[in-house]
């Protein structure tokens, strides 16, 4: 009996521990399952978020694999007409359009001026670069006068032409040149309007009062400081003056 008792006592202890252990392990397993589910859901949301965030990128990849640039429709269109005749027409049209386009290109020497970097490039009729260097172009200053008048000092852009070439030009100061210096504006042909030597040895008129000319302020070459004209160094100006002819094209951008 005692032995039986002892055995019972000996047996009950591991059973309760086993129960405790199994309830512990059940809790752990439940916890682990929740953990798996929650982490799977979080990963799922994260992947979906990333997919939608980079949707355009994935769509581009999908398009690469799902679409192919077939020419079926183009072939069908061409086949529906007379292809041989169409080929001849196309060739003629390409040649004509090319010819029409070439007619716009300069037939004689020309100059290209970049108003952003304040550089120029002088080319001959075959588009061979002859000279390049610094210029000064419009400062983009807006001068506001008291009588509601204002001037914007910018160099015009596009294709212009040399309209007049002058040696030893004289500058006839416009109204803004006086207003800018706080002086009274004189009459139209007042002697104070005429300045000698300011424009250098040569000038090439581009119309609307704009010119390519020399400068006394050589240290400012390469900077946007002018009232809209294009200033050049003496040697560059001489070369440009001798190379460009009347009607030569001046490209400004």
């Amino acid at each position: 009996m005692n032995q039986y008792r002892n055995t019972q006592i000996q047996d009950t202890t591991p059973v309760s521990s086993q129960r405790k252990q199994s309830s512990n392990s059940g809790g752990r397993i439940r916890k682990a399952r929740y953990f798996v589910l929650i982490s799977a859901l979080l990963l799922s949301f994260f992947l979906t978020f990333k997919l939608l965030q980079n949707q355009l990128y994935f769509q581009e990849i999908a398009l690469t694999y799902l679409k192919s640039n077939n020419h079926e429709a183009s072939f069908a269109r061409l086949a529906s007409s007379n292809p041989k005749k169409y080929q001849k027409e196309l060739k003629a049209e390409v040649d004509n359009t090319d010819k029409a386009l070439k007619a716009f290109l300069p037939k004689q020497s020309y100059i290209v001026i970049n108003t952003t970097t304040n550089h120029f490039k002088l080319y001959d009729a075959d588009s061979k670069l002859l000279r390049d260097g610094l210029v000064s172009t419009g400062s983009f200053t807006v001068l506001k006068a008291s009588d509601n008048k204002q001037w914007m000092f910018k160099t015009p852009r596009g294709q212009l032409k040399v309209l007049k070439k002058t040696k030893d030009p004289v500058w006839k100061r416009p109204d803004w040149a006086f207003i800018e210096e706080g002086q009274k504006v004189p009459s139209a042909n007042h002697p104070s309007r005429f300045e000698y030597g300011t424009l250098g040895d040569y000038s090439l008129s581009l119309g609307y009062g704009y010119m390519i000319h020399g400068t006394l302020y050589k240290r400012f070459l390469g900077l946007p400081v002018t009232h809209g004209c294009i200033r050049m160094g003496d040697e560059d100006l001489e070369d440009v003056f001798n190379t460009l002819k009347m009607g030569s094209k001046v490209y400004i951008y």
């Binding site: 682990a32 939608l52 769509q59 581009e60 020419h71 069908a76 970049n114 490209y251």
Partner: protein, 299 residues
Amino acid sequence: MSQSVSNNTGSSEEKKQNFIVWFLLWFIRRPGMQFLFLLTAILLPAVALVFTVILPAITFEPIPVNEQRIHASDTLKTKTAEIPREQVPFYIDLLNKEQKLSFLQNRLELARQDSIYLVLNLQDSLLDIEIKGLPVQRCKLLSVDASNRLKVAPHEDIQAWLGKPFTLKKEFATIPKVPMLIVDAPKDTNEAAKLPKKPMEPEKTAVFFTLMFDRNLVLLVEQAEAVVPEEEMLVAGYRQVNDSLFKRSFLEKVIQPMPSDLPVFIKVKMNEGDARSIYRSIPHAGVAKLLINPLNEIK
């Protein structure tokens, strides 16, 4: 007391570590649980991938074309007659000639106008500034990242899309379009003498700009040079504006994954000087034009 607290913390950390080790061993031994984990993790993104990427991509027209053209193209497709294989090079030659003609006609049209325009040549990685048919500046593109849509769109659609010059609708940049300085005229010579005579120094600001054209074309131009630390904020601001312009909400992305007006992006990198010259030289929105050289010779 403090000792007992530290002991408690130590034991709880130990318990956590034990649990993690136990969990990993438990998870490794249960393939069913692993399968469930993968299934749960992948199901939603897979559904999103199918419904917001793959299915819309199947029906999507890579290049935005008008309704009329789509129908015309469908009609042609239905009429497709088998072209003998030996005649294919002849037809391809015709298509190349058509492309060339269309490009030349557009250049001619732009040359007839007085405006400065851009010509983008993706094949040779060049962006030219042209005036009256003459490329006055040739800018080498150091990197080009064009949308795949241009490569996979049917030739007829690409041809129609490139069929006329693109017109600039909107632009924004890290630099001002016109570096304008407003000066009030001095009242007298004394006041004039006091005005600063020193000219503006050449600009060195980072150049990044976005040109939004019609037909959903967006050209992003970036300088290739690294941005100096002082200008990082400026560039970050630009990128923020850029992102906000093209950003779509998650709901929009789910409801309408690929709308017909989805922008066609072309991102290019070039020298800072070239980028500045381009941005300053092109006319304002509504007037500025861009012409794209045929993307590739058809083979």
